[in-house]
């Protein structure tokens, strides 16, 4: 009886509490003009540094250039885009896409392994390992890339090490697409590790225990617990790495030995060497469209992966 009465009392208390309208923080009323004023700085910055440059590039891509004095005329021609359809440029873009995808995939696999390893360490070890991942960023990107020239060249440390192991001939990968891939992988790997680590670090350790209690094997735990939680970080990493890798200019220039023409180099040449801004703009717009298509496909894949 007492128990029943107590139960009723609790129920009443709950009912009386739920009958009260919820106390919610109310945002102070902001009028239309005030709201616009608050938005204005963001709008101006976005317009100045994002929208206007993009529009300018798009407008330039339909122009023509006087190759003697480099005056640009806006005759709204599509010639620059038609020029881009030549086999030379299409192959160059395709080569860049393939290299970008392969290095991004390699980054994702290696980055996942590193991030998973870090996330499973004690907190202090995690901090140390994260610092170790970030430390290369303290050195100039150009210097780090040139360091690979010394490492990979004939008679360099890698070559000498291989010969010390008894391998015959030279390890001759400098100035090849492989050295470009290594350079991109090395330079962008930290950008892949960090977002994946953030995703993995948020996994409640109790989930591992629960999975184990329910009889899941380590592989099944990884597949059903770790991987789904890592998807948002993986996708963020793929975007952060894949987008700049497609337009990468410096690494192919330094480690490619001028033998592998990439989209980034072709694009830079139009602005820095030949002064053909309209064609360079058309190239930039095309690369941008290709990237947007790839990102769109990625975004479409993301919800499905998250649901799974």
């Amino acid at each position: 009886m007492e128990r029943d009465q107590g139960g009723v009392a609790v129920q009443q208390a709950v009912t009386s509490e739920s009958a009260q309208p919820p106390r919610r923080w109310r945002r102070p009323a902001v009028g239309g003009l005030s709201r616009l004023a608050l938005l204005l700085p963001t709008l101006v910055i976005t317009a100045l540094f994002f929208v206007i440059p993009l529009v300018l590039i798009a407008v330039y891509s339909f122009g023509t250039v006087n190759q003697v004095n480099f005056d640009v005329y806006f005759g709204w021609t599509t010639q620059n885009y038609r020029d881009f359809t030549s086999a030379l440029y299409v192959h160059t873009l395709a080569r860049s896409v393939v290299l970008s995808l392969s290095t991004t995939l390699s980054c994702a696999v290696l980055g996942f392994i590193f991030a998973y390893f870090i996330s499973r360490q004690p907190p202090r070890a995690q901090q140390l390992l994260l610092v170790a991942v970030i430390i290369p960023f303290w050195t100039s990107f150009i210097v780090r890339t040139y360091a690979w020239v010394d490492l990979l060249q004939n008679l360099g440390p890698v070559d000498r090490f291989a010969r010390a192991l008894g391998l015959h001939g030279h390890i001759d990968i400098l100035y090849t697409p492989y050295s470009i891939g290594i350079g991109i992988l090395y330079s962008y790997l930290p950008l892949m590790i960090l977002p994946i680590y953030v995703s993995l670090e948020r996994i409640d350790p109790a989930l591992y225990d629960a999975a184990a209690d329910l009889g899941a094997t380590p592989f099944r735990q990884f597949r059903r617990v770790v991987l789904p939680h890592a998807v948002p970080g993986l996708i963020a990493g793929i975007i952060i790495v894949g987008v700049p890798a497609l337009g990468e200019y410096v690494i192919p220039e330094i480690l490619g030995g001028g033998k592998t023409l990439m989209a980034g180099n072709l694009l830079a040449n139009q602005f820095l060497e030949t002064g053909n801004y309209p064609f360079g703009s058309a190239l930039a717009v095309t690369v941008m469209v290709v990237l947007m298509a790839l990102l769109f496909l990625l975004r479409k894949a993301q919800p499905a992966a998250e649901v799974q």
Binding site: Q67, F70, L88, H91, V149, G258, N265, N269, L272
Partner: protein, 373 residues
Amino acid sequence: MTDSTLLNDPLTRGALLRRAGAGAFGLSAASLLAACGSSSSSGSTGGSASDVVAGQAILSNYPGWMGKDNLAAFHAQYPQASIKMISNATSSTAEVVLQFKSKQYDFLLADTSDAGQAADADLITQIDWSKVPNIANISDKFRKAYPWGLPTDYGKVGIAYRPDLIGNATITSWHDLWELIPRYSGQTVFIDLERDCMGSTCKYLGFSSNTTSADDMQKVQDAITSVKPHLKAFLNTNIGAGLINGSTAMAMDWDYDVALLQQKNDKIKWVLPEEGVHAYLEGFTAVQSTSKIAVIEAFLNFLATPKQYADFVNTTGTAYMMPKATPLVEKSISQNPILVPTDEVLAKTEFDKYLGADGATLWSNTWNAIKAA
């Protein structure tokens, strides 16, 4: 800058490096400047002109690409005038022409291709040579090749190689190089600048290195792509550095660069190929919009005196073009056969020329096709 840093400096661009590389000679010779004679029997640097030369002229130039005392000495000679040098290194013709248009400079260092295009675009001011009588000190060949201003320096593209790495073979021609490249696959480096690389290939094929023939360009493309799989790389910095440690056996390279490399390894040989050589030629040219033409003309006349030009050469280490300056030029330069070729060699040398809009586009497209192949 030391020799070592020159060979390992990765950040400068090709055209800057080739001149900066030459500059290394200048540092070793800097102490000699004090010994340079103070008199100049061939120079006309003062006179009544100094009374009217006033104002500051702005020069776009490579960093350090000036005699160490040139600017101060000019100001001492013309107290009301001075030269402000802004370092704006570039190997891009487009960028140089845009500098001519920018109205930020009064005169620029420009090569024959850049200055020729700027002249075609009506962006230069012709020098009144009656006010630059010392131009007579410059050899005729260079004056004719560079009519827009004062020619200052040039560099030839030849072959550097290590005989000990290619079975003690002797290279005398571009033909020899092309024959040896496949036999020593992965041990040859070409220059990564279209005018120098394709210009040298033109010489190999017997063409002018300023050809604008589509057929010629197709043959040039075929010739380079035929050996491209066997090339180690196209480089525009540290081109011949591998010759020192033996990781490169043969290189298409600039004369000054090889002279520098030979100081590191005396096994490196230099060849001016018998088919002929392609070369760049640079000088100072006034922009069309300048209001300081009197200062510019006075400075060019001043720089064209043997004493001042020797200062320029000793500081930069470039191959020079004023025979009268020889007694004042550092012996490591004036007695180096690589940097001071004979008349016979100069006769086989062809300088860059502006190719016209269509010609430049043809070369650019061919170069892209070679790089993409």
